[in-house]
Symmetry: C2
Subunit: 109 residues, 2 copies
DNA sequence: ACGAACCGTAAGCTACGACTTACCGATGCT
DNA sequence: AGCATCGGTAAGTCGTAGCTTACGGTTCGT
């Protein structure tokens, strides 16, 4: 094999900064500068992450004067979540019962 | 902020090779050499990935003669899955309805 | 029209993760 | 005992993701 590199949704959310951006935008739409202020990185770095998220269809941007407001794209988020679920479903097919059983037994030995 | 680096479950499954290993072990337990044969990387590389997965509690290993059989740890897998769900739940809290609505409308405009 | 605010992009650096080769220990077989 | 198989670990290389600084473009205010 060599083509097991289909789902790159993992790479997108693999970066903690990107996850922080997504979480922040989930709360409410924000401008680039706002995001940069909450995060321990520079503004251009935020821009680059936003570009990745936009290419993935996770966020939409809208010009508002000199500022540019980014917001989460519900459809993109849902699609990504489905994509990640595909891994769990496909990979753990036939293993699911055991997993769920273990999940049930968690916390009460 | 600075401490948004809590959940490292993403880093673990962020690597495509590691995902392939998990998917393979979900099918059935395998020895290190078996895994290396299916993947386009060397055996030591597989060993290193297995170490990461074991440290995360995702796999268990068992000595079988000279071979060492690895299998998925159901509890660990379930725990990881829960951990990832925490992100979705926490991050998208209050955004959930919109997302689910978009998911429903997907494919039938 | 001019300066300020806001942002995207280019260029370059750096740290780290993933991989390789080489070596060594442990187990099984004859 | 001796050889082969299997696997973990060490050491070192390499690519690339993520960051920074520098620069240029666009929009708003006065």
């Amino acid at each position: 094999m060599a083509t097991y590199r289909e789902a790159d949704g993992w790479e997108i959310l693999g970066d903690p900064t990107r996850r922080a951006i997504v979480a922040s935008l989930a709360e409410r739409p924000r401008a680039v500068g706002e995001l940069a202020q909450e995060l321990p990185i520079s503004r251009p770095a935020v821009s680059q992450h936003l570009r990745v998220l936009k290419d993935a269809g996770l966020v939409d941007d809208e010009a508002a004067g000199t500022r540019r407001v980014y917001r989460l794209n519900p459809a993109g988020v849902a699609a990504l979540r489905d994509q990640l679920d595909v891994f769990w479903r496909r990979a753990l097919e036939g293993f699911q019962e055991t997993v769920e059983q273990a999940a049930d037994e968690e916390g009460r030995p």
